[in-house]
């Protein structure tokens, strides 16, 4: 069922891509690339580019990755560069924290970010804070990556979104990509960055294809960390989101466009540092703001965005209070009907937009 939904969504994505093709000239030799393959390409290119880069995690080597993101890499690079670990998150994560200080550039895969809680002390206390505590002596160029947030039917312990948890901590960069282009460009930037980066992927997005331009397919294509992207320009209201829900926002925008409401959809791309300027610029144009995320409401990404807008110049441009669309404030249930109603649906976004615009 989830696969069917994915297919339908990708179908919608493909349709909207086709529509855009008719309206705008597209560069030749662009291709449909799945998110999983974009991530694979990014890692492959960076492994080739720099001897010091290596990948470590559970099932990343001989199993080709629990979600097949690292497929083919072990065959190509061997045991030294692609390392299978026992099921020890703490060890995986912390084994990687000093190699950066000792000269290496590791990529640590968490099978899901839920398991990163086992090792979160090392991510925060050994990775994020070390450059500061050592007053610049010990940089930590490490990437922690893996799927984050809700999947389909995996229940409470495997469905949490960690964007707010990691986004809270100075010393970390936190990325939450949406499209294949986002994933490739940002993962390459993350690997090349000399600082600890938490890279929050999404399991339900792995199989979704996106069009990638020829430029995006090149070996040197990177996207700067800390810059949001306006996926769809609009004039009536700003929708800000990250990861999978960017797609939901675009779908809601398509429906609302038929009723004459033009939504500007912003894909945050990076949670920390947050591109507040992009959001402010948009709000100053549209005068309305709705944030959309899969995580829980309290102390979340949307809460931070609203606080920042209030503290900045854009507040005076708001014609209505900024509003958050979030996951329901409960542990994720298992039964499909309950799960579906625990995360934002397109109808929830449409409802919130209309309430904000008072239509």
């Amino acid at each position: 069922m989830a696969a069917l939904r994915c297919f339908l969504r990708s179908g919608k994505g493909a349709v909207s891509v086709l529509l855009r093709r008719e309206l705008h000239a597209t560069a030749p030799a662009s291709a449909q690339v799945m998110v999983r393959d974009a991530l694979n390409q990014a890692m492959d290119e960076e492994l080739e580019r720099d001897e010091r880069v290596f990948l470590l995690g559970e099932e990343v080597a001989q199993y080709d990755g629990a979600y097949k993101v690292s497929r083919g890499l072990w065959k190509k690079y061997g045991d030294k560069r692609i390392i299978d670990t026992p099921i020890t998150e703490v060890m995986c994560d912390s084994v990687l924290a000093p190699p950066p200080q000792a000269g290496l550039r590791p990529i640590c895969e968490f099978m899901t970010f839920n398991f990163s809680m086992q090792a979160i002390d090392q991510v925060i206390n050994s990775a994020a804070k070390t450059y500061y505590m050592s007053a610049g002596l010990q940089p930590v160029p490490i990437v922690f990556r893996g799927p984050n947030g809700a999947s389909a039917g995996v229940a409470a312990q495997h469905s949490q979104c960690f964007a707010a948890w990691y986004g809270h901590c100075p010393g970390l960069k936190v990325i939450s990509p949406w499209s294949a282009e986002d994933c490739k460009g940002l993962l390459k930037s993350a690997i090349r960055d000399d600082n600890p980066v938490v890279f929050l992927e999404n399991e339900l997005m792995y199989g979704v294809p996106f069009e990638m331009s020829e430029e995006a397919q090149s070996k040197d294509f990177t996207i700067p960390i800390g810059k949001a992207k306006i996926e769809r320009p609009g004039s009536h209201i700003t929708l800000v989101s990250h990861s999978r829900f960017v797609g939901h926002c675009l779908d809601a925008a398509a429906v609302l466009a038929k009723e004459g409401i033009e939504c500007e959809v912003i894909n945050l791309r990076t949670i920390r540092p947050l591109d507040v300027e992009c959001i402010e610029g948009s709000v100053m144009k549209t005068n309305h703001l709705v944030t959309v995320e899969g995580g829980w409401p309290q102390f979340g990404v949307g809460a931070e965005i609203c606080a920042r807008i209030m503290e900045g110049p854009a507040f005076n441009y708001l014609d209505a209070p900024a509003v958050r669309v979030t996951g329901v404030d409960i542990p994720m249930p298992y039964a499909k009907i309950l799960e579906d109603n625990s995360i934002p649906q397109i109808k929830d976004i449409i409802f919130s937009v209309k309430k904000t615009l008072n239509v």
Binding site: A97, P98, Q101, A102, A135, D194
Partner: protein, 400 residues
């Protein structure tokens, strides 16, 4: 005049000719030292305690050689560490040092013996009782003390404090109990990956030995044959809890199970050195990790906020001080084997005292870090960025 003085007088007389020969060939300054120190033994052999072993066919040597030079060096370093920690105690009581301060006095033989058994190009990581290691790994007393007092001249520019000191190939100074152990294995992984013939010494205490992450680390280090020496500094107390009350098995050197282990007298610098050499050879020959338990003792409490006498008796502390003090042990060995004179060692004491006084002077007068430095060093190799202050109108600057 005591026998010892008569003996020295006779020796000096006998060697006067020798001294005279030196005058004619080498000049006045050399003559002074030759005449004063010519009668010392250049090296001597010592019997040291045998180590208990776990899953090992051989053990470190029990007869070792100490040269006069080495002896004087170890003495000076241990004395410097001792005096540095005692000065820190003083400054803490004067409230010039604040927060956490975990002192190392009593355990000097461990740090010095370990460093004597490895190279500066090897790597080392430890927990929060780190001042001694910061010194043996290349930090200066001045930098260490200024870090304790939170000044800009501190080894981490005042931003780390007692528990977060770093130098080349020394990864701290880690505050979270046990967290440094997986990190140490990670450093060893880097050594192996980069094919440098280096190893990592990874230290933890008897309290940390019960942490789960240490067992995860044992598994992976053994599985991947990482060049890491795990060292448990067993000072008998994890904060206020004695080892008997905390551990189902106090044979910490056996805790690695499939990892071979050694139990070493951590109060004897020669024992520690010999065992470390043995362990380093084991690692460098590609056999994988090895575990050492150093049986040692701390005179101070767990930290400066712990008087250290509610869970152990003053008599116990006194007994260790009088019978097993590492500095006294080395001093006795050198004196009774004519490797140094009382005056010479006193001279070293005076020099050390001066160094510590100067460092303390620096540490109390150096200014605190500038407020401009508050937000720096968040990211490495990054263009300057803005950091929110305590209120929305305060925007601070951060540079790498």
């Amino acid at each position: 005049m005591c026998i010892w003085s008569i003996y020295q007088w006779i020796m000096c007389d006998m060697l006067a000719d020798f001294g005279c020969n030196l005058i004619s060939s080498s000049g006045a300054a050399v003559v002074m030292s030759a005449r004063t120190y010519a009668d010392f033994t250049t090296q001597a052999s010592f019997e040291i305690k045998k180590c208990d072993v776990h899953k090992l066919d051989d053990a470190p040597a029990t007869e070792v050689v100490l040269t006069r030079e080495e002896g004087l060096q170890y003495y000076r370093i241990m004395q410097t560490m001792r005096r540095m920690e005692l000065k820190a105690d003083q400054l803490y009581k004067q409230k010039i040092i604040r927060g956490f301060c975990h002192l190392y006095d009593g355990q000097e033989a461990c740090a010095v013996g370990i460093e004597a058994g490895i190279n500066l190009t090897d790597h080392l990581i430890t927990a929060y009782r780190a001042h001694g290691y910061t010194y043996t790994r290349g930090g200066t007393v001045k930098e260490i003390m200024a870090e304790l007092t939170g000044r800009r001249g501190g080894i981490a520019k005042g931003k780390g404090g007692s528990m977060h000191m770093y130098t080349k190939n020394f990864y701290g100074g880690n505050g979270i109990v046990g967290a440094q152990v997986p990190l140490g294995a990670g450093v060893a992984l880097a050594c192996k990956y980069q094919e440098r013939n280096e190893l990592c010494v990874c230290l933890y205490g008897d309290g940390a030995a019960n942490q789960g992450q240490i067992f995860e680390t044992y598994n992976m280090a053994a599985l991947w044959k990482l060049p890491v020496i795990f060292i448990c500094e067993n000072n008998k107390y994890g904060m206020g809890t004695s080892v008997e009350r905390a551990a189902a098995s106090t044979d910490y050197f056996k805790r690695g199970d499939f990892i071979p282990g050694l139990r070493v007298d951590g109060m004897d610098v020669l024992c520690v050195r010999e065992a470390t050499r043995f362990a380093a050879d084991h690692c460098r020959s590609g056999k994988g990790p090895i575990l050492m338990e150093l049986q040692t003792y701390r005179y101070h409490g767990h930290s400066m906020s712990d008087p250290g006498v509610s869970y152990r008796t003053r008599e116990e502390i006194q007994e260790v001080r009088s019978k097993s003090d590492p500095i006294s042990m080395l001093k006795d060995r050198m004196l009774s084997n004519n490797m140094a004179s009382v005056e010479e060692l006193k001279e070293i004491d005076v020099e050390v005292r001066k160094e510590i006084e100067d460092a303390a002077q620096f540490a109390t007068t150096d200014p605190e870090p500038p407020l401009d430095d508050l937000c720096n060093h968040i990211f490495s190799n990054e263009p300057p960025l803005e950091v929110r202050g305590t209120n929305p109108w305060t925007k601070l600057k951060s540079v790498s």
